[in-house]
């Protein structure tokens, strides 16, 4: 799917700056920010920045990739729990697949995620790397 510039740009706070929301009523950490707290359904939040450090909850090594990531196979894709409890789905980079394990300490780093051909939008975000 081609990358629509507006759709990519509106995710900058989430994907570039790791901005999350903390519910002012129950204290739940919500990432990305949304209108309604998934824990208590309150609607008031304060913004904070995620701690980029965490651990691998579970992972896979993808051998048959989508067209957007086909050139990267095999790549490690994981659910990472960050310090503070927020979870994200992301790639694990700079590591041999055989070295990845559940519980491995990782840190999110700013990386290129997708690009739309030679002249199109480049979308950035975060990948996990070993720490």
């Amino acid at each position: 799917m081609s990358l629509n510039p507006a759709r990519v740009a509106r995710e900058f706070p989430t994907r570039y700056r790791l901005e999350a929301a903390r519910c002012t009523k129950c204290g739940a950490s919500v990432y990305p920010a949304r209108r309604v707290c998934p824990s208590c359904r309150a609607t008031a939040f304060e913004t904070f920045t995620l701690d980029p450090n965490g651990t691998v909850v579970t992972f896979t090594v993808i051998h048959v990739g989508p067209s957007s990531h086909k050139h990267e196979v095999p790549y490690v894709h994981a659910i990472v729990e960050l310090n503070g409890g927020v979870r994200v789905t992301c790639q694990v980079a700079d590591v041999e697949p055989a070295e990845v394990a559940v519980g491995m300490p990782v840190r999110l780093e700013f990386r290129r995620i997708q690009e739309d051909g030679e002249a199109g939008v480049i979308a950035y975000g975060h990948k996990a790397v070993p720490r």
């Binding site: 579970t58 896979t60 051998h63 067209s67 894709h77 994200v88």
Partner: protein, 387 residues
């Protein structure tokens, strides 16, 4: 609420069917179900289709298919909840009759998946996950279920061989089903040496891409009694539907599928039944780990026991509680919008005692579980035959 029965069932051909279109596959299933019911008119039509737009560039398929059946004028509703679209079409038809809007509803599901390339098909299926949080980063459906499988192995000691046992069992069942897409016996060794898709899952852990349609005719139970032609009355006595967080990472336990448990609890409450009353089960085995996690959610076994159960033979034909005797999605095929309806085609066939070599002896109560995404939608139906 009025009582509902299943009075007709039908399937199209299932497989990679280059000479058939979405509308012709759908019509074949619809005509078969109407003929089975002995009806030539219905009050209403429901259509489950996950993504006719992405697969064949056609939306508005409710009206299209009513027209195709020579029934313009009949209200037709297309419903969508990813791979649970078929189950949702059943729920929509059930609700219409229960509420008194209709006496007879043609409930259908269809997907024509092979008119697009493999990449386009993968992309269409991926729309059932969270586009921004999962798919953007390179997620695939096999990859998400693979993460569920790894978590299950980590937490419960489930083995790679136990995952394979699900595929081996369901292919064994599919051998007995003339409608199944892949009728070939496979071994645990075959699964383990098949191509890696998303570790720990291999290609033989995955359900196939399938063109196909399924249809059932639902009727208010009084109407249904006039259509029996000597066959047993198969009632749809319970239906439950539940959702869950859509991104797998937001599920507290990523090795479990709680929406299936919630949907089942609602269906059991409506039917006044419990899992111990059920003799035949069709579940959504889109990947081997899915059958394991769903059977735990349904209470067929204790949490964490799904892998050992698969390897034990308990859920095979002839076992204590046969699961996916149709071959399941794994062997029968998985035209995503049709699957939830096809599960009820199989259960009705079983409860009528017409399932031939794959007949579960003495089956009187059946359960179908259909789901979308990594379990963010689930629909559970209970069917039973009057004694």
């Amino acid at each position: 609420m009025r009582d509902v029965a299943i009075v007709g069932v039908g399937l199209s051909r299932w497989g990679e069917i280059w000479d058939a279109s979405l509308r012709s596959l759908w019509s074949d299933a619809a005509l078969a179900a109407l003929a089975d019911a002995g009806l030539d008119r219905v009050d209403s039509i429901t259509v489950g289709s996950m993504s006719s737009g992405l697969f064949v560039g056609q939306e508005h398929v409710g009206a299209l298919l009513a027209d195709e059946l020579g029934m313009p004028g009949v209200p037709a509703t297309r419903v969508e909840s990813a791979c649970a679209s078929g189950g949702l079409a059943v729920k929509a038809g059930f609700a219409e009759i229960a509420a008194g809007f209709s006496d007879v509803v043609l409930v259908t599901g269809v997907e024509k998946m092979t008119d697009v390339s493999g990449d386009e098909c993968t992309a269409a299926l991926a729309t059932a996950a969270d586009a921004e949080l999962e798919v953007f980063t390179g997620a695939t459906f096999p990859g998400l279920y693979a993460m569920m499988a790894r978590a299950h192995m980590q937490r419960w000691g489930t083995t790679r061989e136990q995952l394979a046992a699900v595929a081996v069992k369901n292919h064994g069942h599919g051998l007995l089903n003339p409608n199944a897409q892949f009728r070939s016996r496979i071994t645990v060794a075959d699964v383990l040496k098949s191509a890696k898709v998303a570790e720990p899952l291999n290609i033989l852990d995955c359900s196939p891409v399938t063109d196909g349609a399924a249809a059932i005719v639902l009727a208010e139970v009084g109407v249904a009694r006039t259509l029996l032609k000597g066959r047993p009355l198969v009632r749809l006595t319970g239906i439950g539907h539940a959702t869950d967080v859509i991104a797998l990472h937001n599920r507290k336990d990523v090795s479990a599928i709680p929406a299936a448990a919630h949907a089942a609890a609602k269906a059991f409450a409506m039917a006044g039944r419990a899992i111990k009353d059920v003799q035949v089960i069709e579940v959504h085995d889109c990947f081997t780990i899915a059958e394991i996690a769903v059977l735990e959610a349904l209470g067929v076994c204790a949490p964490g026991e799904g892998g050992r159960q698969a390897a034990s033979g308990r859920t095979a034909l002839g076992g204590e509680i046969p699961v996916n005797v149709s071959g399941g999605l794994k062997s029968k095929g998985h035209p995503v919008g049709a699957t939830g309806v096809a599960q009820l085609v199989e259960l009705t066939t079983q409860l009528r005692g017409e399932a031939g070599k794959r007949q579960v002896a003495g089956a009187r109560v059946g359960l179908a579980q259909n789901m979308g995404g990594t379990g963010a939608s689930s629909v559970v139906s209970i069917v039973e035959v009057a004694s």
